[in-house]
Symmetry: C2
Subunit: 230 residues, 2 copies
């Protein structure tokens, strides 16, 4: 009957047709919006949500070893084109939580980079990455998204300055999208998201990068592949 992209009749109209108040219609729509079936646009109307294919985001030893960007590989497997926009701030004092994760003192300088990852030009995930300033200071890879190794990923960049990254630790947490995240990701405020705290460690056990990653449940499917050694 209604197709993706169609606009539904207004709440007042639906309420009159069904013989209920507009409050009932609103709550019914809210439930469907939370499930991702409908999409509300303030001042405009309520629409049938576009069906978007979820991008499978894979974490495995194999994927980490790959040479290019892990995200680009994920999107390519879905037959789409992966791109991203980024902004780097060179010397930002570490907030408490980040400092603890990086094993540095609060206020120590970091290189902070914010990302917005796109699949076929539509946002799929956002992230904020932090690296201790003193690790990359003065090297060609200090700015993650500039220079010859731009977009090659943390592992490859660190290797270039003689640091061997041996493991990543990821901590996924469920949550709801706040207003800013909803705006950046083009989703509804309050939608289900997974927030991942990821930290890369070098072979001597030192944290060399940590990131906060936000993946909306409706846009990404997170897959961890854990090998079982005999």
């Amino acid at each position: 009957m209604w197709m993706p992209g169609d606009r539904l009749p207004s709440r007042a109209q639906l309420a009159q047709e069904c013989g209920v108040t507009d409050g009932v219609v609103r709550r019914a729509q809210e439930a469907l919006i939370a499930q991702g079936v409908l999409e509300g646009r303030a001042g405009s109307g309520t629409y049938v949500a576009q069906r978007r294919e979820r991008v499978r985001i894979t974490r495995s030893p194999r994927r980490e070893r790959a040479d290019g960007s892990p995200f680009a590989a994920d999107v390519a497997e879905a037959g789409m084109r992966g791109t991203w926009e980024s902004r780097t701030d060179g010397m930002v004092p570490a907030p408490p939580g980040i400092a603890a994760r990086l094993g540095i003192a609060e206020g120590d300088y970091c290189v902070r980079t914010t990302y917005e990852f796109l699949a076929d030009d539509k946002p799929v995930q956002i992230s904020t990455s932090w690296e201790p300033y003193d690790i990359t200071a003065g090297s060609l890879v200090m700015l993650p998204e500039a220079g010859p190794l731009a977009g090659k990923g943390v592992v490859r960049r660190m290797a270039d300055i003689g640091i061997t990254v041996t493991r990543a630790v990821e901590r996924p947490e469920p949550g709801h999208a706040n207003a800013e995240e909803a705006h950046l990701l083009g989703i509804q405020r309050g939608s289900l998201v997974t927030r991942i705290q990821r930290t890369y460690y070098s072979d001597d056990g030192r944290p060399v990068e940590t990131a906060d990653i936000v993946v909306p449940a409706g846009l990404g499917e997170i897959v961890y592949e854990v090998p079982v050694s005999p």
Copy 2:
């Protein structure tokens, strides 16, 4: 002022004190309940939630290789005592989603086991495990929680019948606790949870077990350790 376990004044009382209606108090309490700060008990009152330590649930090649129960190891690291209750149904027809994950036909028989995992006798996670009936039929390890290898984990049990498990694939998804999950886990309905679809594969690529695991955000901290091979 108020300590964990204390009962707050009733909504009507708080409403009168603050000069608002009880609806306002209710919504304020709902927000705090969602954050796990308060706990509402129908017919009884609203209480300050007990502070519960989160159990770190680790997934890594090292942990999978361990001989005992992975859960027991997780809980032991937190200095607590890990136990579990289980119930096994011997011949259950596979529902569509499970059949797809196990690579069998819909309706093929499975061994289904439901678990409730406890740390110091308090629930931490629940799960439902499915194994194709024909894999373990007639062997000593057909019932996961009976016999000599009870509680030793899927990898060890499969090894006993000559099946080498080489990898686990986990897919964590954010969600809200339904009424049944909330009851089993002793949490509030609608609380944030992570639902994990886990599947174990043998060396020939065949799925040998799949499980739906529910971890409340307030009770468990899920950690994936991904090695980065050079």
